[in-house]
C-alpha cells in the first residue's frame, strides 16, 4: 500500500512526461502530412461513410441504422484492442529509454493507453455529430453515464496493458499471441452483432463474463438507444477493471527492475 502511494506520488511528479509522450504520439502520428491533425477526424469520418454505403447497399442489415449501431461499438473496441496490443509492446518499443534513463516505467503503458484513449475521445466528436444528424438524438441523462463507462474501459485496458507490457519483455511471443487473442475477442464481444443474437441464455450469461461485453453494450445503450445503461452488468466490468489494474501493477512492479537487463 505504501509502495502504491509512492508510485502515485512519483507518477504525479512525472505527469509532464505522460502528457508529452501522449502529445508526441498524437502529433507525431500525422506529422509531415498536409492535413496533419485533421486526419484524426477524417479517418473515422470516412470509415463511417464507407460503412454507411456498404451496409445500406451491399450488405443490408435487419438492424435499423446499422452503420451507427456498428460505429458506436467499434470505436470503443478499437481503443481497447489497440491499447491491448500496442500497450503490450509499449515497454519494448521504448528500449532506448528504458536501458538508458530512469523514470517510473509505468509511464510507458500509461501514456500509450492514454493516447489511444484521447484518440477515441476525439473520434467521439464525429460520433456525437452523426448521432445528432441521424436523428437518434442524445439523452442527457444517458450521456452523463458515458464518462463512467469510458473510465471502466480505460481501467480494463490499462490493467491489461500493464500486465502484458511487462510480460512481453521477458516473453516476446506474447505480442503475437495477443494479436490472435484480440482477433478472437472481437467475436466474443457483441461489436458486430447484437447480444440478442445469442439465443441460448446460458451462453449469453457466459458472454457477460467477458467484461468488454457489458462495456460495449453500455456504449450502445447510451449512444444508439439513448438509454441509461444497465448498471448491474457494468459493476462486473468495474470489478474486472479494478482487478486487472491491481494485478497488472503487481506483475509490472515485480518485473520492472529487471527490464534493462534483458532488453
Amino acid at each position: 500500500m505504501i509502495k502504491l502511494c509512492k508510485l502515485c506520488k512519483e507518477l504525479f511528479a512525472y505527469r509532464e512526461m505522460i502528457f508529452s509522450l501522449v502529445r508526441k504520439d498524437l502529433r507525431g502520428r500525422y506529422k509531415g502530412s498536409v492535413l496533419g491533425f485533421l486526419w484524426t477526424f477524417i479517418n473515422p469520418l470516412f470509415q463511417l461513410i464507407i460503412y454507411t454505403i456498404a451496409f445500406s447497399f451491399i450488405l443490408p442489415s435487419a438492424i435499423d441504422k446499422y452503420y451507427l449501431y456498428l460505429f458506436v461499438a467499434l470505436i470503443p473496441w478499437i481503443f481497447f484492442s489497440s491499447s491491448l496490443q500496442g500497450g503490450a509492446n509499449s515497454v519494448m518499443a521504448s528500449q532506448n529509454l528504458v536501458t538508458k534513463i530512469y523514470f517510473p516505467r509505468e509511464i510507458l503503458p500509461i501514456s500509450y493507453v492514454t493516447s489511444c484513449f484521447v484518440n477515441m475521445l476525439l473520434t467521439f466528436v464525429i460520433i456525437f455529430l452523426v448521432v445528432l444528424i441521424s436523428g437518434v438524438g442524445l439523452n442527457p441523462l444517458a450521456i452523463l453515464c458515458l464518462p463512467v463507462v469510458m473510465l471502466i474501459e480505460y481501467m480494463i485496458a490499462l490493467g491489461l496493458a500493464l500486465l502484458f507490457s511487462a510480460v512481453t519483455v521477458f516473453f516476446r511471443d506474447m505480442e503475437h499471441i495477443l494479436s490472435i487473442v484480440t482477433m478472437a475477442w472481437i467475436y466474443m464481444t457483441p461489436v458486430l452483432y447484437p447480444i440478442e443474437m445469442i439465443s441460448d441464455s446460458d451462453i449469453q450469461k457466459l458472454f457477460y463474463l467477458n467484461p468488454m461485453t457489458s462495456v460495449i453494450v453500455a456504449y450502445r445503450d447510451i449512444l444508439y438507444y439513448a438509454e441509461i445503461p444497465d448498471f448491474s452488468t457494468l459493476l462486473i466490468a468495474l470489478f474486472f477493471g479494478v482487478t486487472s489494474l491491481i494485478l497488472g501493477e503487481l506483475v509490472f512492479s515485480g518485473l520492472k527492475k529487471r527490464f534493462a537487463e534483458v532488453m
Binding site: A13, Y14, R15, E16, M17, F19, S20, L21, K24, R27, G28, K31, G32, N96, L97, V98, T99, K100, I101, Y102, F103, F170, F171, R172, D173, K257, R258, A260, E261
Partner: protein, 429 residues
Amino acid sequence: MTNPENAIEVRNVRKKFRIFYDRSNDLKDRILFRNRNHYEDRWVLNGISFSVKKGEAIGLVGHNGCGKSTTLKLLTKILYPDQGSIEMQGRVSSLIELGAGFHPDMTGRENIYTNASIFGLTRKEIEKRIEEIIQFSELEEFIDNPVRTYSSGMYMRLAFSVAIHVDAKILLIDEILAVGDANFQKKCFDKLREIKSHGTTIVIVSHALGQIEQICETSYWIENGLIRESGIPKLVHDHYLQHMEDKRTEQLEKQHREEHGQEQEDQNPENSDSGKPELPSFCEKTAIRMGTQQVIFTDAQLQDQKHQKQYIFDTEQEIKIFLQYHAENAENLNLKGNFGYGIFREDGLHCYGTNIVIETGDYIPIQENGELEITFRNSLLPAKYFLDIAVHSHDGVIYDDIRRVLSFVVSSAKQDIGVCRLQTEFSWR
C-alpha cells in the same frame, strides 16, 4: 542515510548478470529445454561501498568492463543491485543518454519539453528554464526547426543543455564531455563547475582522467568489480596508469618475444639471399643494411643500467647500446673509424643522432674484434622507437650501416606530451 550529510550511500553492492549462451524467449525452447542451464551468472560487482557527501564530486575510473558503468547504472536506477543497498537524496539527473526521447520531426523547442519531462520536470519548471536552455545551447536561430535538420553537434548541444538545466541534486555523467567543439566543451565544463559550486553532487565515469582530476575530490579505481583504490584523483590515477602501463608492456613484451622467436626461425643461413649484405639474427626484420662490410657489426643490444638486455625503457631511464664488431685484419691496416647512432620514432621522426667524432672530436682505432658501449640518459616520451647504428671510415667510407637495427618502447606513467621530456620546474610567487 546513516550520515545526513551524504547525498549517496552505496553499501556492499553486488550485481550479477546472467549471460545466456543462446538466449531463447520462445515457448518451444522453454518447454523443450526447460531443464537446460544454458546461462552463466557473471558477477560484475563484488561488493562496492562508498559514500558521497552533498556537493562533492567523485570520479570512477577503471579499464573497460571493470564495472564502473554498471555502478553508474545502479545509481541511475536503471539496474538494481542483487545484494547491498543504494540510497540517494534528491532529484537525480543523468548525462548517460543525451537526447532521450527526441523526435526528429519535432522542433528543438518541442523536444526540449519532451526531453526535460523525461527527467521529471513539470511544465512550469520547464517554462522557467527554457530560455536559459536555448541560450546555453547557442541554437537560438534554429530552435523552431525540426531537429532532423540539426547537425550531430547541434543535436548534442541541445541535449546536453537540457540535461544540465534539470537542477538535479545529483548528477551522473558517463563520458560526456565529448560534446560539440572545443569551445562548447569548455563551456560544458565550466557549467559543471558552476553547478557543483551550487551544491550539486556529481559522479563521473570517464577515461579522461584529467577532467576528473580537475573537478573531483575523490577518485575510485574499480577493478574486477571491487574498489581497488580510492583517494586524491591524481594519486589514484598515477597508480592506475602505472598498472595499465605495466599490463601494456607485458603485452608488448609477449608480442615482441613471439615476433623475435619467429625471426630466429626465419633466419636460416642457407636460405638467406645473397647479393644484399645478410641480416644477422640480432637485427629487426625490417632492418636495412648498407656499407662495404670491411667492418661488420656482429651484435647489437639495448641494455639497462645493469647490463640486462631490455626492450622497454622508462622515460627517465639510462639506456646502453652495446655493440660488437669484427674487422678483418684491422690492426695491420691501421683502420680508424667513427661510430654513431640515431633514434627514430615509429612515425619516422628523427629524434636524435650523434657519433664519436661529434662527442669526442676524434676517430677511434678499430680492433679486429671490438666492443663499444654507448650510454645515454633517455628523455624520450612513450612511443615505439627504432635504433640506427653505423660505422664510417675517417674519410667517409661507410663500413657498415644498419638502419632500424633494433626497436624499443618507452613507457611512462607521467602524462606529459611531446617528443621528449624537458626537465621542468614551476615556481610561483
